[in-house]
Subunit: 298 residues, 2 copies
């Protein structure tokens, strides 16, 4: 089906959801949106989005429903139950949950969707507010191949969707993403300390490393924050900790020992325990300075 | 001075040095090269490089001498002493040591050069054989600002030179580079194990993560080797271990605790102890599989 023929229900038009819904409308999809705080949805009307008074109203006509709410329990509350989205949606439509929720929650929602003859994808994203605005989100998709193929053109309007496996594995990929981010922040922090302590200019070290084997998004975007001691969040450390804890708990369920990730999870735990949870996750360098009795500039 | 007016002595034309010397000759520098095994230098004559019979002969007329030998002791042997390069070089010429050598060795060589009225830079590289061939090496430079400015046009012919601080800090930046590489390999290995164990396709997870916060050169170039169990070296694990051990020893000298790097150093130690030292450094995933009693396909 072309964009013009597809009706989309968009549930949750907050910081991330609003630009995502806007991109869909601008791409020609017929979008009905609902948000708990209505004014955030109303701002989208200039893009041609229709604002619905209830979640049910936004989805009854929809071929595809996109959910971008804040957490697993909030998603479950809106999706499941006699007043939930699944009960209101058409048979043979598709539910795409783009929130970051536990793997098991996604698997359970997928089973519930199947009972309603509704296709299900979990499709969490990485790239933050800027990625949502630029339509450059990394979109990690779990679900059936057929359901993915039905919706991949739509997802491509918001970023780069890749199917990684069955329902729940989109969330698994997101956790792998978050582990890599956390560990790379710890790693780059240690490199900054070594460079500083040995009398090198860490900003110049960063410049020298660009393009080589040590290059990464964290080196490019987070290392300057560490050097400048500028930890206005981006992604707050407390959320990073929540993700690393979820990932480590899942690894333990799998009887999988991940030594580096476990260590870094502990570092983030200490960082938050020391009162730095509201700072950007790159503030992990503060915890490493603390351990080494180095000044943190405060 | 323009390239045509500058005479370069190039000491060590092995796998890395040969293409680097060739680039200098092609850029118009007058290059005299010496190599312990003469045929490796002779192959450069078609690029206009003159082959010298002795290191001294290659450097007596040189404005800039580039050293690309295999280790700190070999560099010291060729550079220092009454028959060494410093004794043979002109006053006010410049010695650029591009080998990876200990920070202290570089500092000591810099002091010796000063006594001969010779400028000194330590300028180790990252990017490997391909980087040398493509003239895209990351070049991490320690030394005086003035000496760096005199040679930066020449260094730019071989890659991207960045001065990071005084003599020795080029080597320090290289160690920071190697720590980041080692830790990122460990991190991506753990992400592969988590993805596999949870039923996701790790190759698709990699694809989904490209361009996001978890992106890195290691994700792009090494993760496919982990997934394919293809560990033909690249950079052998035993060299990675040598670098992480040097970096950790230096951090200890600085009384600096680097918990993630120390842990990863221990993982590489175990990998090599288990007989995998000749494999590519991305084979660290084998050590993590071993710890988790997962099959390694051999």
């Amino acid at each position: 089906m072309s964009a013009e023929q597809l009706r989309v229900g968009f549930i949750g038009t907050g910081i991330m959801g609003a630009p995502m819904a806007g991109h869909l409308a601008k791409a020609g999809y017929t979008v009905a949106a609902w948000n708990r705080t209505p004014d955030k949805a109303t701002a989208l009307e200039s893009n041609g989005v229709t604002v619905s008074d209830t979640p049910q109203q936004a989805v009854t006509q929809a071929d595809v429903v996109v959910v971008m709410l804040s957490s697993g329990p909030v998603c479950d509350e809106v999706i499941l139950g006699p007043q939930g989205l699944l009960a209101a949606m058409k048979a043979h439509s598709t539910l795409v949950v783009m929130s970051s929720i536990p793997v098991e929650t996604a698997q359970h929602q997928a089973q519930a969707a199947t009972k309603h003859d509704i296709g299900y994808l979990d499709a969490p994203v990485s790239g933050g507010e800027r990625g949502a605005q630029d339509a450059s989100l990394a979109i990690m998709v779990g679900g059936d191949v057929e359901t993915f193929e039905l919706t991949s053109a739509l997802l491509s309007v918001m970023g780069n969707p890749v199917r990684v496996g069955p329902a729940g594995t989109g969330q698994l990929a997101k956790l792998a993403n978050q582990l890599i981010v956390a560990n790379t922040i710890a790693t780059v922090s240690e490199a900054v300390l070594l460079a500083e302590r040995g009398g090198a200019d860490p900003a110049k070290v960063r410049e020298a490393l660009l393009g080589g084997f040590a290059d990464s998004t964290i080196l490019r975007s987070h290392m300057p924050r560490m050097i400048a001691n500028d930890f206005a969040p981006g992604g707050p450390a407390k959320w990073q900790l929540k993700d690393t804890q979820t990932a480590i708990a899942l690894a333990e369920q799998f009887s999988l020992e991940l030594p580096v990730s476990s260590l870094v999870n502990g570092l983030f735990k200490d960082l938050v325990a020391h009162g730095d949870g509201e700072l950007d996750h790159s503030a992990l360098i503060r915890e490493l300075r603390r351990r080494n009795e180095l000044p943190n500039g405060d």
